[in-house]
Structure formats: C-alpha cells, structure tokens
Subunit: 244 residues, 2 copies
DNA sequence: TCATATAATTGGTATAGACAACTATACCGA
DNA sequence: TCGGTATAGTTGTCTATACCAATTATATGA
C-alpha cells in the first residue's frame, strides 16, 4: 500500500481521484501502451480501497476508450487515436479554439417568430408556439466559416435577449432547470450554397457547403434548441467518434 | 417481491434481465415518460436482488439515454427522440435496411497496393506495407448511392479475398483476433464530385457529395480498416447522436 | 518431450450494509 | 405568512466479501 496518493476526506469521490492517478500514470508512461496495468486486486491494496471502487474507476476509463479489459488476462492501455475528435457537445467557440483558431461572431438577426412546421415538429412545439430566431455569422481567424440559424422555444427561456445569447447558453439553461443538458441528434448533409448565404460566406454561388442540423435535449428528453449551420466545405471538416 | 420475473439460474446476468424488464415496462407504459420509476431500494425488493445489482441495470439504461437520475429525487423516464440515429458502427447494408431500402453492391476493383502516405499514416503502417484496396459501388433500391474505397492492411487479414469481402468483415476479424472491435473515428466533409466518380453515381459533374472517411480500431487501438465513401448529397443524410 | 490435469490469477457478477448528499414535506414558532 | 427544523425518502459513494468464468502458469505423468 502506498500512502499519500488519495485524499479520503476530500469532497472529490475516491473513484474520480483514482481515475486521475491512472490517467497520470499512463501519461508518464508508467503504464505503457499495449501493456497491462496492475490487476484490480493489486490496485485495491495499493490504494487501500475496495476492489469495487477500483472497478468503478476502471470502468469509466474503459468507457472513455483509454483502457480495455480482457477477461482472465487483465486490463490494458489502449492505443491513442491519431485525431482526437471533440468530446461530446461543444459550441462553435470551443470547436474553433480546439482547432487552433480564434472564433468571432456577428448577430445578423434576433427576433421572435413562429417557426416553420418542420422546425416546430423537431422542437415538439404546438402550432403557433413562438421561438427565438437568431442568425449569426461565425468566423475563425476573422474569416467567415459558417452561417448559423438557431431556434430556441420562447417557453424554455423567455428572458433570453441579444446579450445573453453571446455567452454560454448551455450554462444558463443548466442553471435554470436543475437538469443537466443531455444529448443531441445531428443530421449532416452536403449541398450547394444558397445564393443569399454565398455572399456572407464569401464563396462562389456554386460552392459546396456542409449543413449540420443539431437538436439538443435536456436529460429528460425535452428539446430546447435547434441549430442549423452552413459551413464552408473548403474550411471545415466534421470529426466524430463512434462507439460500438 | 414478485416471483417469476427473473431466472436466477440463467446464463444471462441478472442485471441484463432487469434492464430488459424495465425497458419492457417503459414500452408498456407501466412507467410513463417524465414520471419516476420505483426507487432502487424498492426495485431491489421487488426483484429480490441487491440494490447494487439494480443500480448496474439502471446505470446502463441511463447511459443509453432511456432514463435519467436526479439525486435526492429519483430516476425518471426520458422523452424518446424523434429520429433515432443508427446505434454505433453499422455497415452500409445495415444502414440502408434501417432506412427501408434494399442494398446492393458491385466490386469495381480488388487488389493489393502500397497505399498513399496519408492512408498509411492513418492506418499506422510503415513505409512500403501493403493494403487490400477495394472499390465498390453501393446502391439502394438499385439506384447508385455511394462509391466506397476500402483500405485494409494485408498484415491484419492476409487471407482476405474477393469472396470474403462480400460478407461481414467485422465478424471475421472479431473471430480471428480474440478482441472485440472497438470504435471508429469519422471525418465528414462536403465537396463537388470528382469527374471520374460522377458517371458511376449518375449525377451531374458539378453536383455536391458527402464524403465520409472512417477509420476503425480494435479495442486495443490498432486500426484495421479505413473506408472513404462518397455519397450522393441528394439521397443521403448522415444522422448521429452526441452525448455530453 | 509432450500432453494433460491442476492451481493461480484475472476480470465478471452479485450480496448486504453503511454513511453522505440532496430533496420534499410536514410541522412548529415567531 | 414566513422561515427554520426535523424527518423520511432518494440517489451517490464506498466497503468487505463471495463465487463464477476465462485465461495463463505450473506441476504431473505417460
């Protein structure tokens, strides 16, 4: 048993602390890629915790793809992927920063409207229910990257205004509902740019674009946002990870 | 306690059986959307198992998005999504069947080559290492949908031939290595079709296409397949789910 | 030497119980 | 009416233990 690694009186759960230590050991190559880490039983004596607690840590690391288990053999460090996809739901801002570019944004429209029927259906709205409709030019390193059209049901966040939309909408919504933001469904397709969009994106009116439509849900499954983004195909690739 | 729901002598783990029962009860609206299911303690007496076993079942259902937990309040049934994305890694065949179309396929090329450097890098190959290179036209309801170019390192599956490629490659590989197939990373972009591809896809040579590049990995992180698919933009949308 | 049995080790499943953190409600007193 | 407090119920974390199933290492015997 090794002392001083864990703080058992911390407000941070032990299994989270152990996750961090294991990640650190992988990073420091104390545990090498392709090799096995100590067995669950050995780790539990090393940290002086029960095996079930160690299992909780390892299970999380397996789910995140850092480790993998083989019954009867052991738990191994997985090969890291060449291109790390963005983890989970990210904003345009985070996305661009992760790509090493500086994001900026300009609001073209901000208003309350009754949305088209297809949008209303995706947001599970009754006929006539209003949404906030926001149109923004999204730029990276001062060059236009995408046009983004956002629909947010008024009943979800009636006090929304043009200032609030500039910050992190997700944080605001998570604070208002005592729920976390759950997941999202994305549709992706290729198309030729609309003539009206081509001048904002500063591309030829026959240029291809990548259109991403994302509907985001609270963890109870209620949709709270629909975003339709039109990206310049020459500047943007979408990278994602699929689990089996 | 209720008898006869679980088979404790079954080879199927109890926590899996409980998952199925809960899913069934949601489907039968015994547990209604937005309402809470019985507490973990109550379920554990109902099934006459320990609370931790029930927790394992519920945790899996929470991870799959069917339920969500609120500390101190209970566990609730989430709203189902309108459009269910394909779960995990799917083949073209599964994808088209799920969309209600009948897939077919025609092999244009099958050969061993030394791949371009970018492909070799993605597959973590040394210079000069060979891959199988397969080009296929993928059709749905007898209409061309995509051109698919597949690269598989020869060292991964040397005995591959034109017949084996028609079946489920994944099943073959999972059987050969005692590993499961792990996950994949996808890159998606929009473009104008290549002239040579346009006649196979039967589209105008200025038409947009959706290009999907997917690299698939064994659970130890070793890449075993790279597929570059060019889809007709007018016939194909890609739908995926993002977890936060 | 080479099979074959046996033991040891590993992750997988399951139990029973304890305390912490949080929520909702009922109740009481100012 | 308002605000605090007690209480009961919920999920979250953690322990200690046990046995099972798959794999690997070791010993045994022909």
């Amino acid at each position: 048993m090794v002392q001083g690694l864990l703080d058992k009186n911390s407000h941070i759960p032990i299994y989270i602390q152990i996750e961090e230590i294991i990640k650190q050991r992988i990073y420091l190559e104390e545990y090498k890629i392709g090799e096995n880490i100590p067995s669950e039983r050995e780790l539990s004596t090393q940290f002086d915790v029960s095996r079930m607690t160690v299992r909780q840590s390892i299970t999380n690391l397996v789910n995140s793809g850092l480790l993998y288990r083989e019954k009867g053999r052991g738990t191994y460090v997985a090969n890291p992927k060449l291109e790390q996809p963005l983890k989970g739901l990210t904003s345009f801002t985070e996305d661009m920063r992760a790509r090493g570019m500086e994001p900026s944004s300009k609001v073209l429209r901000f208003e309350k409207i009754v949305p088209p029927v297809d949008i209303a259906r995706d947001l599970m709205l009754e006929a006539g229910e209003e949404v906030f409709f926001v149109v923004r030019i999204r730029s990276a390193d001062s060059k236009p990257m995408a046009i983004e059209r956002t629909y947010i049901p008024v009943k979800i966040y009636p006090e929304l205004d043009e200032k609030k939309i500039m910050g992190s909408l997700y944080a605001l919504i998570e604070a208002k509902f005592h729920q976390k933001i759950g997941n999202a469904i994305q549709q992706m397709e290729a198309a030729i740019v609309l003539k009206e969009d081509s001048k904002f994106l500063q591309i030829n009116h026959t240029a291809p674009v990548l259109i991403i439509k994302r509907t985001s849900y609270l963890s109870d499954g209620v949709p709270f946002e629909l975003v339709r983004s039109t990206y310049r195909a020459d500047r943007y690739k979408f990278i994602s990870e699929i689990k089996r």
